[in-house]
């Protein structure tokens, strides 16, 4: 494929030039021209008022599609505990599998048989389980070799993993060895009605823009999925499924984990586990504002979050930051105080169940994602709110 500008249609208006992230469009002889910097990102296709820009397919674009059946999710565990993202993947995977009329399987390395059963109760039809010593702790090479082997043997059509330090580290090796595509850090997944291809949607350019990625010809289609964005499926106490024990054979590792150090205690702000988050932005006006926010958090039983602007001002440490370059959260209740609602903030908290926004500017974009909006000065609203909550709770 390549991108072409129809010289006859081009009016030389230069609209397309600014749309190109790679400076690949230049004006020559009063007409736009695409040069060798083009990365085929297609950002320019929709901007031309004359409709002069189009993509051109080449014979070599048409490839034979490889085969695959079933949806797999990789259930990661650390210290024998399956991480939350595995259950979210089962929720997302179940939806995709049902749409395809296919089976949903989970792959579990390490942990126990009762953990494998838990995956079945959360929606898996099947679990491929390896309990060999070598996969008890995470090491990239054994994990990627074993997963690649299993994929070659059972040929799933989709493989999903968490976009966690573990998933983002070893899954690329699997995709590289299978010569198939991998889409990083997806925030939404769907099946294309016509082609049945997986639509993989993810933020790019620092969250400024969203992209839909396809892997049309090779199988499996692989994606890592951002934690806390997908919803868990239904838990079924009596669900039954097959547990298939698999062996790692004589797979070796050239890396060795010498020590695992937990840095929790005072450093940890458990934003990602919190069911209520009260979050503050530049509108709080300073450290004093955050003292007020902490009071609200205490009254309502929540954890304090922040926008990047508040963190950059030094009013609160980075570990509280929510958004594209901070944490992604999905609490039951998110109260945004004095936060304007820039896209980079929204991507980190949009999947919260209920969003409340308090902002003095009625046009602040945060209100677009809010279930409940209060236009007003937070210096008046928050103290009132604290007082009322305390009354209601009988504190």
């Amino acid at each position: 494929m390549f991108v072409k500008i129809d010289k006859d249609k081009c009016s030389g208006c230069e609209t397309c030039i600014g749309s190109c992230p790679y400076d690949a469009i230049v004006i020559k002889g009063e007409k736009a021209e695409i040069n060798e910097l083009c990365q085929l990102c297609k950002a320019c296709l929709s901007v031309c008022p004359e409709g002069a820009i189009s993509e051109v397919e080449e014979a070599s674009d048409i490839k034979e599609k490889s085969e695959g059946k079933g949806v797999w999710i990789f259930a990661e565990q650390r210290d024998g505990k399956i991480s939350g993202v595995a259950f979210e993947l089962l929720g997302a995977g179940r939806r995709l599998a049902d749409k395809l009329g296919a089976e949903l399987a989970a792959v579990l390395f390490g942990a126990t048989g009762s953990d494998a059963n838990e995956l079945i109760r959360w929606g898996a039809d099947k679990v491929y389980h390896c309990t060999d010593e070598i996969v008890n702790t995470f090491n990239d090479e054994p994990y990627s070799k074993l997963l690649a082997e299993l994929i070659k043997q059972y040929k799933p059509e989709i493989v999903l993993a968490g976009a966690t330090p573990i998933g983002r580290s070893f899954i690329p090796r699997v995709a590289a060895s299978l010569k198939t595509g991998l889409t990083a850090d997806c925030t939404s997944l769907d099946i294309d009605d016509e082609s049945k291809n997986l639509l993989q949607i993810r933020p790019a350019f620092g969250g400024n823009i969203m992209a839909t990625i396809l892997c049309p010809n090779t199988r499996p289609q692989m994606a890592t999925v951002r934690p806390r964005v997908m919803k868990r499926g239904e838990y079924n106490e009596t669900a039954k499924g097959a547990i298939i024990n698999v062996s790692a054979g004589d797979i070796k590792s050239r890396t060795k984990v010498l020590q695992t150090v937990k840095e929790v205690a005072e450093n940890a702000v458990n934003l990602q586990e919190a069911s209520i988050i009260v979050s503050g932005g530049r509108g709080l006006g300073g450290e004093k504002g955050f003292e007020l926010l902490y009071e609200l958090a205490e009254a309502i039983g929540g954890t304090v979050g922040a926008s990047r602007a508040a963190v950059d001002e030094g009013w609160i440490p980075y570990r509280h930051q929510v958004g594209q370059t901070g944490k992604t959260v999905g609490p039951k209740l998110y109260i945004a105080c004095g936060i304007s609602g820039a896209v980079q903030h929204l991507v980190g908290m949009q999947s919260s169940d209920i969003i409340v926004a308090i902002n003095k500017n009625p046009d602040a974009p945060i209100f677009n994602v809010a279930n409940f909006g209060i236009v007003g000065d937070l210096n008046e609203i928050i103290p009132m709110l604290i007082k009322k909550i305390k009354e209601v709770k009988g504190l």
Partner: protein, 260 residues
């Protein structure tokens, strides 16, 4: 010790904005920079040279303009630089990029390969680990500290969600690095002079012995279907009245929703 640092020239995404009317990127006047994480990879390369001796080579795959990024790396202290540039590389996704870089590394030879954690335009963090697979060598991602480095062994700290792991690996190895690892140095006067004079070695697909069908768009399993502005949901309810009434209304709603 032969060290190769992979750097990418990227638009400074902190300054990229989206035009809300046309849903397209507005890139006017946005500067091209070395991917910020790759600056830390360069610094790590220089650190390893100080510790273990040897040579630091920077490599980039990109258009001819990417030469600027390589000269900047030399001004920081890198010994030499290679620019992989060829029409055939255009449209590479992470698979094809990693394949191309791996071919170049194979050709050049290396004991330690350094990459940034991720590039800020695509934010994928996939090229490093994919490259390691092509080279059939181990890799360690999210390196936040290099504890020891010897002729055939390295010990590093890998950042995890809940702390860090201390990991040992044999060499050759590929590391992807995070910002916590170090503070990239400023170019020295001597470095700036060297950068001006340096000869940047250019290599094409043929020079690195790459297979045509694995390159660029042809070699890329993934495709961008479309790009669009982030959407927002719109089932909001604005609470009206005096401040006191708004707060009461909110309390009621939260009680109904069982949040209180």
């Amino acid at each position: 010790m032969r060290v190769i640092v992979c750097v990418k020239q990227v638009p400074d995404t902190a300054e990229v904005r989206i035009n809300p009317e046309t849903n397209t990127l507005m890139r006017d006047g946005v500067p091209s920079i070395i991917n910020p994480y790759d600056m830390h990879a360069i610094e790590a390369g220089l650190y390893i040279r100080e510790k273990a001796g040897g040579k630091v080579t920077v490599v980039t795959m990109g258009p001819p303009q990417a030469e600027t990024a390589l000269r900047e790396a030399i001004s920081m202290g890198a010994d030499d630089a290679v620019l992989l540039t060829d029409r055939a590389f255009a449209g590479s996704d992470t698979w094809a990029t990693a394949y191309t870089l791996a071919k170049a590394v194979e050709h050049l030879g290396a004991d330690v390969i350094l990459c940034g954690k991720q590039a800020i335009d695509g934010d994928t963090a996939q090229v490093g680990p994919e490259m390691a697979e092509f080279l059939d060598i181990p890799h360690i991602a999210y390196v936040r500290k290099i504890e020891e480095i010897e002729d055939n062994r390295i010990v590093v700290q890998r950042l995890m969600d809940d702390g860090y792991d201390v990991i040992e690996s044999s060499l050759p190895v590929l590391l992807t690095v995070v910002k916590e690892l170090n503070v990239p140095r400023m170019p020295s006067l001597k470095g700036k002079m060297a950068a001006k004079k340096a000869e940047i070695k250019k290599m094409t697909a043929a020079d690195i012995g790459a297979t045509e069908e694995n390159l660029g768009l042809k070699g890329s399993p993934t495709q961008v279907k479309n790009i669009f502005a982030p959407e927002v949901k719109k089932d909001r309810k604005m609470l009206e009245g005096l401040n006191e009434e708004k707060v009461m209304a909110l309390i009621n709603e939260l009680q109904v929703m069982k949040c209180l």
